[in-house]
């Protein structure tokens, strides 16, 4: 599209001019990279017309920017199993727990602990899956994940992750925004704020959901909190518009939309000539971008053109809202330069209150739903050489208890495990993560972390590190102080870095 190239060129020229005038300021920030520019202006966005002081008003806020140091990861694919999967049926093999199956939980374990639903003295629940070791790394994986067990030499397990929130909403917020309260930016927003987007035709931070529901904490888990809203995750949907309002009204074809945007920009150009307000130039380029997004998003979001062997690999069925489709989309999106792809799959809250949400049935089905797609995603990224620059993270918001749930002191219709904050498993792969690694251990029954404890902020610090950020320096000034994703905590987990 050439229609407004001149105008965009002009916009960029002007921006550059403003920038050079402010050269002395840039000198002040050497060593930080342009990343911290937002925070330098005390929480004001450098890109908008308001609050920007003398800063350029027509810069693209998603312009690619350099991180603090060379990054190992260009993109992140974060797979969140909303509801919290049971580590005891998937990765954390506890033969001792099997021996204690159906026995009353020793009161010493329960002392001073609080659970969401367990009351009184519950019974122990042995692993409800068959475990074996896999790959050269001899990693334990259960028979719930036969495909994934072939991929263990590409991942690093974190077996002693801990959180301090035992309810879904706050725990998901904590996992994705570093705070259990609403109002903070999500990881993807931080990353997009820091790096911008490589592909100006696509959002820098894309969210895909499956399982029929959004996560418990709602859209706040991909919200931009106090960061400008341009950094919030854009939800791409499998049904309806892939991005809200990206489809032209019925009866209007692409040519007509092109002509209409062209006309809008032509009039805006005349307006600019009269008013000389750089914000008008910015609007012209945003309309141009909108048109480009209209062209590229539906293409990226369409998996029909993928070859049959790819569909077989992932187990995808085009047109369905499914985790498998989302995994394939995630690959397509990072291929196109999207920085952060966040998948939420709902339905892992296996309390035993019903068949779907049980350890004995529901968990097995959910595992089957993700097993092939996740393995395919890793394989597919690998065969395209993308795994080296894509960080894949898998986990839930907390883990599940070695005890069988007895909600309100009652026996449950199905086997279930309650929310557990003291130890659960996550894994990471790609982009400089050690291959076939494992860090952290739990006690004999999988209740407590005994070695290699990892805090939620450590996960954040590690993700940011792989993206090229010092998590203590990626800050934003708000309410009178610099905020960061890791709050006052966070240590990079060097034990799983290659």
């Amino acid at each position: 599209m050439h229609m407004s190239e001149k105008i965009i060129h002009e916009a960029n020229e002007r921006a550059a001019k403003y920038f050079s005038r402010r050269h002395f300021l840039q000198d002040c920030i050497t060593g930080l990279g342009a990343t911290a520019l937002g925070s330098l202006l005390g929480g004001c966005n450098i890109f908008s017309g308001s609050g920007s002081g003398e800063m350029p008003q027509s810069l693209n806020p998603l312009e690619p920017r350099a991180p603090h140091f060379p990054a190992r990861a260009k993109s992140v694919i974060y797979l969140h199993m909303a509801g919290a999967p049971s580590q005891l049926e998937l990765f954390d093999y506890k033969p001792e727990l099997q021996k204690l199956h159906n026995q009353l939980c020793p009161p010493s374990i329960l002392e001073g602990k609080k659970f969401a639903f367990i009351r009184g003295v519950p019974k122990m629940l042995g692993p409800q899956a068959v475990f074996s070791q896999h790959g050269e790394s001899r990693a334990w994986v259960s028979d719930h994940l036969p495909h994934f067990s072939k991929m263990v030499d590409d991942v690093s397990f974190l077996k002693a992750v801990q959180t301090d929130q035992f309810n879904h909403g706050p725990a998901q917020l904590f996992m994705h925004t570093g705070s259990a309260r609403l109002g903070r930016p999500s990881i993807g927003s931080w990353v997009t704020y820091g790096l911008g987007s490589e592909n100006s035709n696509l959002p820098g931070f894309v969210v895909l959901t499956s399982g029929g529901k959004t996560p418990d904490a709602g859209k706040s888990v991909w919200g931009s909190g106090f960061l400008p809203s341009v950094y919030q995750g854009v939800q791409c949907r499998s049904k309806g518009d892939p991005v809200l309002y990206i489809t032209d009204p019925e009866g209007m074809d692409r040519d007509m939309r092109y002509q209409s945007i062209h006309a809008i920009n032509e009039v805006n150009k005349l307006e600019y000539e009269a008013f000389q307000d750089p914000e008008i130039l910015s609007r012209i380029s945003q309309y141009e971008l909108a048109y480009k997004m209209q062209i590229s998003v539906p293409g990226v979001m369409d998996i029909n053109d993928e070859p049959e062997y790819i569909h077989q690999l992932y187990g995808t069925q085009p047109g369905k809202e499914a985790f498998a489709n989302n995994c394939l989309l995630a690959r397509k999106l990072v291929e196109k330069g999207v920085r952060f792809v966040q998948l939420f799959d709902w339905g892992w809250d296996t309390h035993g209150t019903g068949e779907d949400l049980s350890i004995d049935y529901g968990l097995r089905n959910k595992s089957r739903e993700i097993d092939k797609p996740i393995s395919a995603l890793l394989l597919d990224l690998k065969q395209r050489g993308l795994l080296d620059e894509t960080l894949v993270v898998w986990g839930g918001e907390f883990g599940r208890t070695p005890m069988q749930e007895n909600r309100d002191g009652k026996e449950m219709p199905y086997l279930g495990r309650d929310h557990h904050v003291e130890a659960f498993t996550m894994w990471m792969a790609g982009a400089g993560i050690r291959k076939g690694g494992s860090w952290g251990e739990t006690d004999e029954i999988g209740f407590a972390a005994v070695k290699g404890k990892v805090a939620v902020h450590d996960i954040h610090a590690t993700i940011l590190q792989q993206m090229g950020f010092d998590h203590e320096k990626l800050t934003y000034q708000f309410q009178g102080r610099p905020f960061r994703l890791t709050d006052v905590g966070g240590h990079v987990i060097h034990e799983i870095l290659g």
Binding site: L40, G42, D216, N268, L270, D408
Partner: protein, 914 residues
């Protein structure tokens, strides 16, 4: 932290530059000014290690007594009047990198060292930050009023006086006044959020009287749409929403608070009263329902219903939010950091935070799922009952009994919630909400203030008959207090109890031998202690007692409000060690920060007192913060750009004298009338200027702080919607009432554990103003959020305006906007028939009120032709585009006009206030 110090540097530089004050290189004869010269250096280089967070070497420069006190070395670092012997200065010169300050950073410049040295030599005087000194009586005296000069009489010229001084200083030339059309559109959008009506524009253009403009100002200020517009600003601050937040995020009936705000603006409620009613309406004498509804301001905090959450944790979270919000909204002060340690830069101590919290920590709300306390809004039948009861008490009871009973019927407070019980035997707090106990089981409620009362009202439900409750004092085998059977049902039951003195540990024992081993006898939500109504034994007592219990058991409409703890339920406030609510420090009493105005002598030490302190004319911040907020909404940038931070880290005012002049007048001349204040702003010459910029102006004043030109910026999310509906003729003028649901794509609401659905409103309600759109916190209305509206999770002081492709997609393709385009096209056709040119001119004029210039007309006409040809060839597409059942001849004209209308409604000039 490197980042921190550097960011201070830039902040200081920009602040200094923008205010036209260059701290460096000042005239050496004048004494050094602490606030503008010394404090910025301390903030930039020293305070991150020697301030509110860290005091390395036992030295801090946050408060004077700390700075002059003994350090770890045993000696003071600053000796006033003697820089040569002050370690503070010596260290700046030191060559040893281990000694030289700032440690591990670049040395200070010669100028900076010279300022600090002179400052110490001059006595190291502490100055006060500008914002903590009350605005003084302005030096500007308006010229004597003249009959012929209406504009000057309206605002008395003060605003322009101060702006012109600044323009001279900055060597900027003021632009001429904007044309009348532009001016009225600007004024109308600013005062009512809507474009002017056609009629108003015509009459304004025809009116050549000298006060033609002022008359329109007055009529727009009197328009009911005025309140709808300004409410949106306030609702961001109040974090108003229609749902509770957190996981379940279910609905709450809160719209009456939104209506209260709209009405308050429309009635021009003075800002001091506006403040007092929202912070403490319940503590005013005999508050009416409106005054209680106003207190919902602080009930807009979120409420967590999720199973397993601890109510106290989220109650504390709400209180913390209230402290932060109060200080942010009324004092422009960011105090959240003081929760953990003294403010790093501003003179607020750690304890100050909890002293403020102590004002707000004594309300009855405890994060219960029922969101008590709620104001009960009885229907006429209920009201008659209440009246009959109050009439009886007036006859037989005391004034105290009368007000206690009235309050109870209004709020069912004070009551004690199930979550206060402990020592459960064979039972538990079910779903963390209800006391649920099986046959023979029990629990304890500690320290119940029984105080000789003889009745206990129990709110419970059970599906099984045969249950009973025993209440015993002090132990499971203690003296019997009450015995009561619990019939099947869901009700409040009146249980006679043995009167006892003081506070008692009560044991609740439940029995129902017909139940299975896992079934609970009943679920108890709360209980309350009361006395029999007065006049017991008098003829006619029984029906009154019955009416009372009927009223208590009624389920009228209701909404959460603030309600103070009675003395017997006083909740002490403690500091939280390092901000952790689980680790309590010493107890604190309600008080205000020393660095601000003193607490008024006669004010009570409760929320009402806090509100009186805020609205005291000695408070240096209240008026300035509100003036600045209005200014930002009109001019696009605050006089203090950092609206949210008037502290030493915020920007300095770009025109301090102007801010103080308006603040002083807001309080003293206008007695806090917000309409009068706005009137003075919009009648200034500065407001009326043409908004055309130039390369020179862009260079000298890109953000238009000094107002050589008029304001020009994108409309707010609400204005974008409302204008589209107004211009296309779809807008509903219906005011107030429950929130509505305009068109929203399917699948936006997918909340867990909630069967709630977005159901598109009908009968015109889908076309109501944005302020009435239902706001679900975890899934806010997408088109509004795209235009930077708040999701209302926490208080938002300032919407950062963004400009993104997603915004373009909304106004191009959101069916709301496509429908508006269709409707505008119909009106274009009404004006121009089949003549495209006339139609296009009419459409543009309807949107922008002025005649389209030939260049723009040519562009739109070309678009019309392209669309016309296309639709001519493809009648099905035309029908689909117009959502007509089937193609009809001639449809291509209207379809092509719709494409043009859609383009007009996407023009920058349409989406901007100019």
């Amino acid at each position: 932290m490197f980042n921190l110090t550097t960011s201070r540097l830039l902040m200081f530089l920009s602040a200094a530059l923008t205010a036209g004050i260059l701290a460096i290189g000042c005239n050496s004869r004048r004494p050094v000014d602490y606030s503008s010269e010394v404090k910025p250096i301390l903030n930039k280089h020293c305070i991150s290690c020697h301030g509110g967070v860290k005091q390395s070497g036992g030295f801090s420069v946050l408060f004077r007594e700390e700075a002059l006190g003994n350090t770890k070395s045993g000696h003071p670092a600053i000796i006033p009047g003697d820089a040569a012997n002050s370690e503070f200065i010596r260290r700046l010169h030191n060559k040893d990198p281990k000694e030289r300050m700032p440690y591990k950073a670049a040395p200070l410049s010669k100028e900076e060292i010279s300022i600090l040295t002179r400052w110490v030599d001059e006595g190291a005087k502490w100055g006060e930050h500008w914002a903590y000194v009350s605005p003084a009586k302005p030096d500007y005296a308006p010229p004597a009023a003249t009959a012929g000069n209406a504009a000057q009489n309206a605002g008395e010229g003060g605003v322009d006086h101060y702006i012109n001084l600044k323009l001279e200083e900055e060597k900027l030339e003021a632009a001429p006044q904007a044309d009348k059309i532009t001016l009225l559109r600007r004024l109308s959008l600013d005062l009512t959020g809507l474009p002017p009506t056609e009629q108003m524009m015509q009459s304004f253009l025809a009116d050549n009287s000298p006060d033609a403009y002022e008359k329109r100002v007055d009529s727009l200020l009197a328009s009911p749409h005025y309140g709808e517009h300004w409410a949106s600003m306030w609702l961001d601050l109040a974090r108003y929403a229609d749902t509770k937040g957190y996981e379940r995020d279910v609905r709450r009936d809160f719209w009456r608070y939104r209506d209260w705000v709209i009405n308050a603006f429309n009635h021009d409620m003075p800002y001091d009263r506006f403040t007092v009613e929202q912070l403490a309406g319940d503590l005013l004498p005999n508050p009416d329902n409106d005054q209680l509804i106003a207190t919902a301001f602080h009930r807009n905090t979120m409420n967590n219903d999720e199973g397993g959450t601890q109510d106290e944790e989220f109650r504390v979270a709400a209180i913390i939010d209230r402290v932060n919000t109060t200080m942010e909204v009324w004092q422009g002060t960011t105090i959240a950091c003081v929760q953990c340690h003294s403010h790093p830069y501003d003179p607020f101590r750690f304890e100050d935070y909890y002293k403020l919290m102590a004002f707000l920590n004594n309300t009855r709300d405890e994060d219960t799922f029922g969101e008590h306390p709620k104001l009960r809004l009885y229907d006429s039948v209920g009201l008659r009952k209440v009246d009959s009861i109050t009439a009886w008490i007036k006859q037989y009871g005391t004034a105290g009994e009368l007000s206690e009973t009235k309050d109870f019927l209004r709020t069912l407070e004070p009551k004690i919630h199930a979550h206060n019980a402990d020592e459960y035997i064979n039972g538990e707090l079910a779903d963390t909400k209800f006391m649920a106990i099986r046959h023979g089981g029990s629990c304890r409620v500690k320290k119940v203030p029984v105080n000789n009362r003889n009745n206990l009202l129990l709110k419970y439900w059970t599906g099984r008959d045969g249950g009973s409750l025993e209440i015993r004092d002090g132990g499971l085998n203690g003296p019997l207090v009450a015995r009561q059977s619990l019939p099947k049902g869901n009700r409040v039951l009146d249980i006679p109890i043995t009167p006892m003195e003081g506070y008692r540990n009560l044991y609740f024992i439940f029995r129902n031998s017909s139940l299975g081993p896992l079934e609970s006898v009943c679920n108890v939500e709360w209980f309350a202690l009361r006395n029999d109504l007065p006049g017991k034994g008098q003829p006619g007592y029984k029906p009154v007692e019955t009416a009372f219990m009927q009223a208590v058991n009624a389920n009228p409409e209701s909404m959460p409000v603030m309600w103070e703890n009675p003395t017997e339920m006083f909740r002490p406030t403690h500091t939280f060690e390092r901000g952790n609510w689980m680790v309590l420090g010493e107890e604190v009493k309600p008080d205000v920060p020393e660095s601000l105005n003193p607490f008024p002598d006669k004010a009570p030490r409760n929320r009402l007192g806090l509100a009186m302190w805020i609205t005291d004319k000695n408070n240096p911040l209240t008026a300035r913060v509100m003036v600045n907020r209005f200014w930002e909404h009109l001019f696009g940038i605050g006089i203090v750009e950092t609206q949210e931070d008037f502290g030493t880290q915020g920007f300095l005012p770009s025109n301090p004298a102007l801010l103080d002049y308006l603040s002083y007048r807001f309080m003293n001349t206008y007695n806090w009338s917000m309409k009068s204040l706005l009137r003075e702003m919009v009648t200034s010459e500065a407001y009326k200027r043409d908004s055309r910029s130039s390369p020179e102006l862009q260079e000298k004043d890109p953000a238009n702080r000094y107002l050589a030109r008029g304001p020009r910026f994108r409309l707010s999310a609400e204005q974008v919607r409302d204008q589209a509906l107004a211009v296309s003729g779809l807008l509903s003028n219906k005011m107030l009432g429950a929130s509505v649901m305009p068109y929203q794509p399917e699948g936006i609401w997918q909340t867990v554990w909630s069967g709630d659905n977005w159901k598109i409103s009908e009968n015109g309600d889908q076309y109501r103003r944005a302020v009435y759109t239902f706001i679900k916190r975890t899934a806010p209305y997408p088109s509004a959020i795209t235009f930077d509206a708040s999701s209302r999770e926490v208080c938002l002081q300032r919407r950062i305006r963004t400009n993104t492709p997603l915004q373009a997609l909304v106004t191009l393709n959101d069916p709301v906007y496509v429908e508006a385009a269709r409707s505008l096209a119909l009106r274009m056709q009404e004006s121009g028939g089949q003549d495209a040119k006339t139609c296009i001119r009419a459409g543009y004029k309807r949107a922008m009120y002025k005649d389209i210039i030939p260049g723009k007309e040519a562009v739109l006409e070309k678009l019309y032709r392209q669309a016309y040809d296309k639709f001519g060839k493809d009648p099905k597409a035309a029908a689909a585009f117009l959502q007509a059942p089937e193609p009809k001849k001639g449809m291509e004209h209207l379809a092509a006009l719709t494409v043009v209308a859609n383009a007009i409604m996407n023009l920058d000039e349409f989406l901007s206030k100019s």
